[in-house]
């Protein structure tokens, strides 16, 4: 399955002044799969996400989306392609209700009047499609929701727009055990619905629980991108902290992307 990646990055470079944050980074995200992006603080995960979502322009490198080379210069370009980012600090407004938040900035209108019934219906359908049943009323303010419910709303907001690629930045960082399980289940469901999902996480348990592939960044370099089933917990930690682990990573020096993608497709078939 999923022989061609939905999004493929090649040779991405990014510097802030004299500091080179990303060096020759390659990353592939496949439809129907969760790609976990791991790395230590400062490894460049957030910068990479901001490059994909058009907040930062890249210095060099190419984007291939759905087989077509594309350029992403602004968040609008990314949104037009179907790339949505769910940020760590939940971009939700406490004083608005769930429907209002999900459509914020992209309200449905009849002339100049807001079309509330249509928005409420679409929000309800989206939440139902994600099998979300924990929300009592779509008209309750976001401030009255639990952390897990808020994260659910933020994710539902991202998939509302027929997006193809959803990037989640530490979606479980601030959540308790039960709520983390809830959100991870939702992440898995997104992929099962055919979306390409990129999950940024520090939590190895989360990564191994839901991801199909793991991409490890080390000091701005992509040291490995492998199938989750082909790697152990300890190896990932080594990749994150030292940039290499046995045959994987910097020492192998065979190009980061080549390592995992080709053999893994033959060894493991359908994950979901």
């Amino acid at each position: 399955m999923s022989a061609t990646p939905l999004l493929e990055l090649r040779g991405i470079d990014k510097s802030f002044g004299p500091v080179q944050v990303l060096r020759n980074v390659a990353l592939s995200a496949y439809p129907g799969e969760v790609t976990a992006l791991v790395g230590d603080n400062g490894a460049g995960k957030s910068t990479l996400v901001k490059c994909i979502s058009g907040i930062h322009p890249t210095d060099a490198g190419e984007f291939v989306f759905d087989g077509q080379p594309v350029t992403i210069n602004s968040p609008r370009d990314a949104a037009a392609l179907g790339i949505e980012v769910v940020y760590q600090d939940l971009a939700l407004c406490d004083n608005l209700d769930i429907v209002q938040n999900m459509f914020l900035g992209r309200e449905k209108r009849n002339g100049i009047v807001l079309d509330e019934p249509t928005m409420e219906q679409m929000a309800a359908e989206t939440l139902a499609g994600l099998s979300v049943r924990t929300v009592k009323s779509l008209r309750q303010h976001v401030s009255s929701l639990s952390g897990g419910q808020r994260q659910t709303v933020a994710i539902a907001k991202a998939v509302l727009w027929n997006s193809k690629l959803v990037i989640l930045d530490e979606p479980t960082a601030a959540l308790g055990v039960a709520q983390t399980a809830q959100v991870l289940e939702l992440v898995r469901r997104l992929a099962d619905n055919g979306l390409a999902v990129v999950l940024i996480s520090h939590n190895m348990n989360d990564v191994f629980a839901v991801s199909d592939r793991i991409a490890a960044l080390y000091l701005g370099q992509m040291v490995a991108q492998v199938r989750t089933t082909d790697i152990t917990h300890a190896q990932v930690v080594e990749l994150i902290t030292a940039g290499r682990s046995g045959g994987l990573g910097l020492a192998a020096d065979t190009g980061a992307n080549g390592n995992g993608a080709a053999p893994s497709d033959s060894t493991t078939g359908g994950v979901s």
Binding site: D89, L92, N95, L104, R109, L114, Q121, A124, K136, S143
Partner: protein, 419 residues
């Protein structure tokens, strides 16, 4: 407490339709959770009116009732504009003297230069637009805190009024149309017609929305509540128009004085227009969003700077309209128009009505309810013969009370996870 279903499955939700009982219980739970809205203003209004009517029977006359509207009109109009600024968590301290500047422009154009009234009104409103744009630009683009920008405006505009008045001269406004705004009344029949039109319009909007939502299977307020709202509006409007249409002239032989003051429909129309803008357009939605979480709004693709500038423009423009009404009521403009207590009364009106000083929460109706409270205090204490010293102290205390209610309900709201 929660009798509504815990789950909701799609648009064809089988959650039990809310009844009047659950509706009332939900409302009570929101109030207890800190979402008290305009409750203090309405309660305060009832208490104050009761006290003043007992202490001074002249408070409860048709003549005084009409006075309340003309006395409170300018402050209410300024407060309506301030609601927009407060919704972003900003403040406009210059709104009072901005209204003074606009009134001075009006008086100069109509009296000194001798242009017709509509040119003067346009000039005053345009002045408000320019002031608002300048303030908004300094706050949003230059990045000066609104408190400082508008405090500077407060001082500077005071000076501008003096300059326009050529060092303290008083310019009278004699144009009959301008004088009529705050001093003349509608014919009684027109008053009834407008009230009927308002109720019919409100009923149509409410029932249409009910039907549309019901047709889509969305959860609706119970029909009894919807009808109740229409009934309350009809009752309040009907009673007000009836009282205002009573003869209130001391001597009918000299002159007849009855009808709804012309300024009332002006306020009503602006109330409807701004409420529509805030609640039913995406622009209004974006104002709430920026007030609630600026960063979230930015990430949602909302042009935050444009929203911030626009609220200052709305505020100063409403201040201009308030200034026109003040000039009309006084038949003149002097260097103190829009000065002294006008600004604090306006801020007080908005906050007493339930608009939060912390941003993100408030309605235009709040300004009208709060404006009524301020007008009643001012009027009632005047009737009881208190000096303006006492009036200032009491109004200040009421403003503080309203702000504490706001702060405390906010704390309670964050404690109960409600808002």
């Amino acid at each position: 407490m929660s009798t509504t279903a815990v789950t909701q499955e799609g648009p064809a939700a089988v959650a039990p339709a809310p009844t009047v009982g659950t509706h009332v219980r939900d409302y009570w739970r929101r109030v207890r959770g800190g979402d008290i809205g305009a409750l203090p203003a309405v309660a305060g209004l009832l208490v104050l009116c009761t006290i003043f009517s007992i202490m001074r029977p002249s408070f409860l006359t048709a003549g005084n009732f009409a006075n309340l509207f003309t006395q409170g009109a300018a402050v209410t109009l300024i407060a309506m504009g301030l609601v927009f600024v407060l919704l972003l968590g900003e403040i406009d301290l210059s709104a009072g003297f901005a209204s003074g500047v606009c009134a001075a422009v009006l008086a100069n154009v109509v009296t000194v230069l001798g242009y017709p009234w509509y040119v003067a009104v346009l000039a005053a409103v345009f002045t408000g637009l320019v002031i608002g744009t300048a303030l908004g630009f300094l706050v949003a683009k230059v990045g000066i805190p609104s408190f400082v920008v508008t405090l500077a405006g407060f001082l500077a505009f005071q000076g501008v009024v003096l300059l326009l008045m050529e060092e303290g001269r008083n310019i009278s406004v004699r144009d009959p149309v301008l004088v009529a705004i705050a001093n003349r009344n509608l014919p009684t029949a027109l008053g009834w017609a407008l009230a009927g039109f308002a109720v019919a319009g409100f009923a149509a909007v409410q029932l249409l929305r009910y039907r549309k939502r019901a047709a889509r299977g969305l959860i609706n307020d119970p029909l009894a509540v919807v009808l109740g709202r229409i009934g309350v509006l009809a009752l309040v409007l009907g009673l007000a128009v009836y009282v205002l249409n009573l003869e209130r002239s001391r001597n009918v032989l000299i002159t007849s004085l009855k009808g709804v003051p012309i300024v009332v429909p002006i306020i009503a129309v602006l109330l409807v227009v701004w409420t529509f803008v805030l609640k039913r357009t995406s622009y209004g939605r974006h104002i709430y969003a920026v007030g609630g979480n600026k960063e979230a709004a930015r990430r949602a693709g909302i042009n935050v700077d444009r929203i911030r500038i626009s609220v200052f423009v709305i505020c100063s423009t409403m201040a201009a309209i308030g200034g026109i009404v003040a000039a009309s009521r006084a038949n003149s403009v002097d260097p103190n128009t829009g000065g002294s207590n006008v600004l604090l009364y306006a801020v007080g009106a908005a906050v007493i009505g339930g608009t939060s000083l912390f941003g993100g929460k408030g309605r235009v109706l709040d300004a009208v309810l709060g404006g009524a409270v301020v007008a009643v205090i001012d009027n009632g204490m005047g009737l009881m013969g208190y000096s303006s010293g006492v009036k200032y102290v009491v109004t200040g205390v009421v403003l503080l009370l309203a702000a504490s209610v706001d702060a405390l309900s906010r704390r309670r709201a964050s404690a109960t996870g409600n808002r």
